[in-house]
């Protein structure tokens, strides 16, 4: 007797970019753009069935001072995810990757984040 495939056509490989990997890409870009005077750090923990990741800017020259820019929280299905913005702006629920990237762009390119980056760069150079 042939065993019936009850799975249907499974994806051959996972082709989704995870939200954490998107954050890590931006962390790498921060280091590249500032010659590693500032670096990005993504810290991921699991909490109550949710995956929670925090995106932080770290200033190695300032005793590793770190400021949390945003926190994301999602379950195993990745989306929808919640973005908690720590430097101003409301929390946002993102239904998919496109909206998450839009919120991330709005936050990271925003005036407040740029002010902080500028301040940390100046202080790091003076340290």
């Amino acid at each position: 007797m042939n065993t019936e495939n009850l799975w249907g056509d499974l994806p051959k490989s996972g082709d989704l970019r995870t939200p954490v990997s998107i954050l890590r890409e931006q962390a790498t870009i921060l280091g590249d753009q500032t010659n590693n005077v500032l670096v990005g750090d993504v810290i991921t923990t699991q909490r109550g069935g949710n995956i929670v990741s925090e995106f932080e800017i770290v200033a190695p020259a300032l005793d590793n001072y770190r400021v949390t820019v945003l926190t994301i929280s999602h379950d195993m299905t990745l989306y929808p995810l919640l973005v908690i913005r720590h430097l101003g702006g409301s929390n946002v629920q993102c239904p998919d990757e496109t909206s998450f990237i839009a919120v991330l762009k709005e936050t990271l390119s925003g005036k407040r984040v740029h002010q902080i980056v500028n301040s940390l760069l100046s202080q790091s150079k003076a340290a």
């Binding site: 109550g48 005793d63 770190r66 400021v67 949390t68 908690i84 720590h86 202080q123």
Partner: protein, 272 residues
């Protein structure tokens, strides 16, 4: 070293802050919900003062930390959400980890969310304790939870207990992991039989459970700081000079002051 914490409820209370600073000889001022222009605040605080206050660096504006200490005495370690973590290195004496907190209000977050957030903050504090290599840590601020709520008292969260002797056991094992204690002296400042007012924040509501007085503004100390905590200097302030911060009914005067009462405490940071 003396500390003042006050949630100002966005009121222009610079004169009152300056008066408390003089009356209690405050070194470090931590303010939440401060909408006063920093320049105005500094002018008022520093009028006729020899040792002048300055604003310390912070990436977040949810909490302001001002100090009359050398600029290098308060070193920023982390600003994360509703928490500012600083290394306080006095010119003479031992350094401590100062954690200023203003956690989310119950108006915007369920109790369960608050507890989960508190567990995240507890891990952040532990990370910084590892970074600086000691646990001489004090948390001060508006936790928006009472001392008996899980976010403050649970082992996985801030793990703050009411009794010095228990806290001095340093840690206990829960779920196979050592969880370090905080000592929470605010337990001794709740209700009518305590010294001072029954709490630090009063709220009337039509909910089934209403404590009316809440003790959201707290100081939590690691056991390593208990012997440095000066009990006699610890106050929930209700009177500043001739001005009462309470109404005739004995609740915070939200018109001429804040809906929260200030707390003042001192730590002896001399080399022992």
């Amino acid at each position: 070293m003396t500390f003042l914490f006050w949630n100002l409820n966005q009121k222009p209370l610079q004169e009152t802050i300056a008066a408390i600073a003089v009356e209690h000889d405050i070194d470090v001022i931590i303010l939440a919900e401060c909408k006063i222009q920093v320049a105005d605040l500094l002018v008022t605080l520093n009028a006729k003062r020899v040792r002048k206050y300055s604003l310390t660096f912070s990436a977040l504006d949810r909490l302001l930390i001002l100090a009359r200490l050398p600029r290098t005495a308060i070193q920023p370690l982390a600003d994360t959400g509703f928490l500012s973590i600083r290394r306080l290195v006095p010119p003479v004496g031992v350094e401590i980890l100062l954690v200023a907190a203003h956690l989310s209000s119950k108006l915007y977050q369920e109790s369960e969310d608050q507890s989960l957030t508190a567990t995240r903050f507890a891990r952040k504090i532990e990370e910084q304790e590892s970074h600086v290599g000691h646990r001489r840590t004090v948390i001060v601020g508006d936790l928006n939870m009472n001392p008996f709520e899980a976010g403050v008292s649970a082992a996985e969260a801030l793990h703050a207990v009411m009794d010095k002797r228990t806290a001095l056991k340093i840690s206990r094992v829960v779920g196979g992991e050592a969880r370090f204690f905080f000592y929470n002296p605010m337990w001794g400042r709740m209700g009518d039989c305590s010294e001072g007012p029954p709490g630090t924040y009063y709220r009337q509501s039509n909910r089934q459970v209403n404590y009316f007085w809440n003790t959201y503004d707290q100081i939590l100390l690691r056991p390593e700081l208990i012997n440095r905590f000066r009990d006699e200097a610890f106050k929930v302030v209700t009177v500043v000079g001739a001005k009462s911060l309470l109404t005739n009914e004995g609740i915070p005067d939200t018109v001429s002051a804040s809906d929260h009462l200030p707390i003042v405490f001192a730590l002896d940071l001399s080399e022992i």
